[in-house]
């Protein structure tokens, strides 16, 4: 890409350097530099891509410093700069080369930055950042493996079920077989398996519900 210094030819980099050195860092965006920008924008409006690239590459750091003054979150600054660049591109036909470039650019950039802050403020009021402690369920018992699946109690409760229901639950729920596989293995029909599972789960629920009220 021609913009990256490594791929640019030596001639180009020499030209670029001399152009850079002739320009002073002017944080207020006035003076020679904006005159230069004004000319670049006028050419860009006529379709001069080289002038446009130079303009965008030069205003990007300026926009970044402007954004840094308004926006605290460093991650959002680059977003804001890109938003401003996109807006400058979308409304570049509104720039009048007879007028200074600085106020035009700053007016657009400021508006985009403030809009961005508002948008992020709205999003922040609705959303909560996901942190490590949010990764488990909120209910305390869900976070203890032992308590959540007390294997022995389940096995004992299963023993108490009629054989048909017991087999159905074992195959479909514990071994996670599909209905077809379970039907083939047990010789029961799919409908009978479904009924048996349903009834089995219902009586298990009853058993554990009783235990829960007793303890």
């Amino acid at each position: 890409m021609p913009s990256s210094p490594s791929s640019a030819g030596p001639n180009l980099s020499v030209v670029k350097e001399s152009a850079e050195s002739s320009r002073t860092r002017d944080p207020a965006g006035r003076g020679d530099r904006t005159l230069d920008w004004s000319i670049c924008m006028a050419r860009a409006q006529e379709g001069d891509r080289e002038a446009y690239r130079r303009l965008l590459e030069e205003i990007a750091p300026y926009l970044r410093s402007l954004a840094a003054r308004l926006i605290q979150n460093r991650g959002d600054i680059e977003d804001a700069v890109q938003d401003a660049l996109l807006s400058v591109h979308a409304v570049r036909h509104t720039y009048d080369p007879m007028r200074p470039f600085g106020p035009w650019l700053v007016a657009i950039a400021r508006r985009r930055f403030v809009d961005g802050l508002r948008r992020r403020g709205r999003a922040a009021s609705r959303e909560t950042a996901l942190e490590a402690e949010h990764e488990t369920f909120a209910a305390p018992e869900a976070n203890f493996q032992e308590a959540a699946s007390d294997g022995r109690a389940v096995r004992e409760a299963l023993e108490g079920l009629p054989p048909g229901q017991r087999e159905a639950i074992r195959m479909l729920k514990l071994e996670e077989m599909s209905l077809k596989e379970a039907a083939a293995a047990s010789g029961m029909s799919v409908a009978a398996l479904k009924v048996a599972t349903h009834r089995g789960l219902k009586s298990l629920r009853k058993v554990f519900g009783r235990q829960g009220t007793q303890t």
Binding site: M1, S3, S4, A44, Q45, E46, G47, R49, Y52, R53, L56, E57, A60, E78, D79, V81, Q82, L85, L86, S87, H89, A90, V91, R92, H93, T94, Y95, D96, P97, R99, P100, P103, W104, A107, I108, R111, R112
Partner: protein
């Protein structure tokens, strides 16, 4: 996320020549010319009210039409100027004197000719009036919205308010020319009310409307 140098490259790749906007005064004049064409069209369709000359001789009515027209023209000029990012927001005050004259005139007419309001409105006549209002106002508002769409990306609400006032002023000054009512105070109040409503709506929904037609 795309990096800024990559974004710049993609913008440069899309940098077709663009036509610069004409000066705001010229653009406002173009829009007002369109409003004039609407007037001619309305006259061709509906015809002027027969007693127009007589009504215009009543000072309340004449001032109303003139003040509404001035408000509309000045608000349009203000909207076109303020729609540019680097112009002063103080231009928004431009239509205010004409608007004040308009409001004071309506208030004055209300006080001096209160009796005129009594005869009441005829619903049938008023629906025709609303239809005419929509027929004139809608094309004007839509044209203005499209002509000012670049403002969506910076500060649409003040521009929308000025634009709403422009449409309201122009429409309010055109409509009395077709009303087949006498120049009662009611019409003046009605016009100002519509103007207030339109401007308020523009202020409330302007941002959304402009975002809808925004350049991308």
């Amino acid at each position: 996320m795309i990096t800024t140098p990559d974004l710049i490259e993609s913008l440069v790749a899309r940098a077709e020549p663009v036509r610069r906007l004409r000066p705001p005064l010229a653009r406002a004049a173009a829009w007002l010319l369109f409003a004039g064409l609407m007037l001619v069209l309305m006259v061709a369709i509906k015809g002027l009210r027969p007693d127009l000359g007589l009504s215009l001789r009543q000072p309340g009515f004449a001032i109303d039409v003139a003040a509404a027209l001035a408000t509309g023209i000045l608000a349009a000029v203000a909207a076109f100027i303020v729609s540019l990012p680097d112009r002063s927001r103080l231009w928004l005050w431009l239509p205010v004197p004409a608007l004040l004259v308009w409001i004071v005139n309506v208030g004055h007419s209300c006080l001096t000719a209160w009796v005129d309001i009594q005869p009441g409105m005829h619903l049938g006549d008023e629906t025709g009036c609303v239809a005419a209002l929509v027929m004139t106002g809608a094309p004007l508002a839509l044209t203005l919205l499209i002509m000012l769409r670049h403002t969506a990306l910076f500060d649409p609400t003040p521009v929308a308010i000025a634009g709403g006032l422009a449409v309201a002023g122009i429409t309010a000054s055109l409509l009395p020319l077709f009303h087949n009512h006498d120049a009662s105070v009611l019409i003046l109040v009605w016009n100002l009310g519509i103007a207030a409503l339109l401007t308020a709506a523009a202020g409330a929904f302007g941002r959304r409307m402009f975002t809808w037609v925004a350049p991308r």
